[in-house]
Every structure is written in structure tokens, then in C-alpha cells.
């Protein structure tokens, strides 16, 4: 990406993404963390669009922003502690977390800044080549992933539906 406007757009989106990730990591309130995750995933979709990875940008918007973050929001709302602002998202061992953060960040940044700038491949639309690859060279992983999705769907429904601990126990009104 060269030129002023794409560079500014990149840094704006990067700032949005990092701010969102920092909100997830640091906010003491679960709902705020969830919406920060929303912002981070949205920023990532923008960066994919900026990288001219159009299919990845759309998939990120549909699956991550539209699907996973709504699912996370549901999980936040369905589990307890929403009323107890400030204590519903407890964190512990911040020193250990900080050590892990630095231990990962410093080598990763060292590697990142030793990268060559790279040469962009021409900005062709990627949807058709990805479709060709999915039904050509990658057809076996494609089928395996579809079976995995089916298994995950059935498994998740089965898990969330719950089961009775005792077959003789009568189903109670409020769940299970």
C-alpha cells in the first residue's frame, strides 16, 4: 500500500483494532469487553478490505462480526453478573499476564520489524481464484470442513439443549 490515504486508513483501522483488543483485555465490565471485541473484529475486516482481500473481508464481516461476536454477546447476557459492574469480569495475576504479554510481544515485534517491506501482488479480485482453489486443489479440506461444521452444529445443539442427570428425574420448568 503506497500513498497517503491508504496509509492513513491503515493506521486508523489499526488503532481501532488495537483499541478494541485493549478494551477486551483491560475492561472490567463484561459487556464492554464484548463490544470492544466487536470493534476489534470490525477493524480487522477493514484491514482485509484495505489489503484487497475482498473475500476475507466479507467473510470476516459475516462470520466474525455478524456471527461470533453476537454469539459472545448472547453468552455474556445469558451468564450471570451483568448487574455487578466492575466485578463481573474479574482478572487475576496481572503481573503474570504482563510478563506473558512482554515475553510474546518483544520477540514478535523484533521479528516484525526485521521483515522486508514486501512486494504487493497485483490487486486482482480474489473471489474467483479462491473459489477455484476451494473446488480444485483444496476440495478435500473443503469437504472435511463441511463435515466438521455439521458435527459442530449438532454437537452444540446437543450440548446447549442439556440432558437430564437422572432418567427418572422429571424435567424442571426452568431449564435443563
Amino acid at each position: 500500500m503506497t500513498g497517503t490515504v491508504p496509509t492513513l486508513a491503515f493506521w486508523g483501522l489499526a488503532l481501532l483494532t488495537i483499541a478494541g483488543a485493549a478494551g477486551v483485555a483491560l475492561s472490567g465490565h463484561m459487556v464492554r469487553s464484548a463490544f470492544s471485541l466487536f470493534a476489534a473484529l470490525f477493524g480487522m475486516a477493514g484491514i482485509y478490505a484495505l489489503l484487497q482481500a475482498d473475500l476475507m473481508a466479507v467473510v470476516q464481516l459475516l462470520v466474525y462480526v455478524g456471527g461470533i461476536s453476537v454469539l459472545v454477546l448472547f453468552a455474556v447476557m445469558l451468564t450471570s453478573g451483568i448487574g455487578r459492574v466492575g466485578t463481573d469480569n474479574p482478572s487475576h495475576r496481572p503481573i503474570g499476564g504482563l510478563l506473558v504479554l512482554l515475553a510474546v510481544l518483544i520477540p514478535a515485534l523484533g521479528l516484525a520489524f526485521r521483515m522486508p517491506l514486501g512486494i504487493e501482488s497485483p490487486a486482482d479480485p480474489t473471489v474467483a481464484p479462491i473459489g477455484d482453489a476451494l473446488l480444485g486443489r483444496f476440495v478435500l479440506p473443503f469437504e472435511v470442513v463441511s463435515v466438521l461444521l455439521l458435527a459442530a452444529l449438532v454437537g452444540a445443539v446437543n450440548l446447549a439443549r442439556g440432558w437430564r442427570r437422572d432418567p427418572e428425574e422429571r424435567p424442571s420448568e426452568e431449564g435443563r
Binding site: 482478572s91 495475576r93 503474570g96
Partner: protein
């Protein structure tokens, strides 16, 4: 001014570190899952960046697979979290240490 691989790797490294920080410090299981999502996104950004600045489309194909796997992981993990919440009235990961009551 231009943006190249180092800048994308920088963003990816920060996301990875913040995701790991979230996973290490949180006690709420849903928050730990959010950390996992951040780490996965850092990895996906790497795949797309190397595909864009390298040759071929394979990185993005792999990225699409990665998103699908992340969706499957999130669905199953959140179902488990809801079930744990039903059983123990809490999503505190350090309290869910019994396989069976």
C-alpha cells in the same frame, strides 16, 4: 509513506499479545474465549498479509478455513460455557474444576 509487511506484523503481534494477556488474566470463561478469538485473528491477519505480499492465493484460502474453524470452536465452546453455567451458576474458570458433581 507506505504500508508493508512489518506494519501488518506489528498489528498482528500486538493482537496476539493482548489476546494472550486476556487468556492468562481472565477468570470469566467467556472473556477467555474472547482472548482466543483475538489470538485467532492475529493468526488470520498473518495468513492474509503473507498471501497479499507473497505469491498465490493459498494464504487466503487457508484464512477462510481458519474463520470456519473459529466459528465452529466458538459455537461449541459457548455451548459448553452455558452448560457449565447451568450446572454451577458461575462461569468462573477457576471454579469449574470438577468433572462430575
Amino acid at each position: 509513506m507506505s504500508v508493508g509487511l512489518p506494519h501488518l506484523m506489528f498489528l498482528s503481534a500486538v493482537l496476539l499479545a493482548l489476546g494472550l494477556y486476556t487468556m492468562v488474566t481472565r477468570r470469566n470463561a467467556v472473556a477467555i474465549l474472547m482472548g482466543v478469538e483475538l489470538v485467532l485473528n492475529a493468526g488470520l491477519l498473518n495468513l492474509v498479509a503473507f498471501s497479499r505480499f507473497g505469491r498465490g492465493i493459498d494464504g487466503q484460502v487457508f484464512g477462510v478455513f481458519g474463520v470456519v474453524l473459529a466459528a465452529a470452536e466458538a459455537v461449541v465452546a459457548l455451548a459448553i460455557v452455558l452448560q457449565v453455567f447451568r450446572a454451577m451458576r458461575s462461569v468462573d474458570a477457576s471454579r469449574a474444576d470438577r468433572m462430575k458433581e
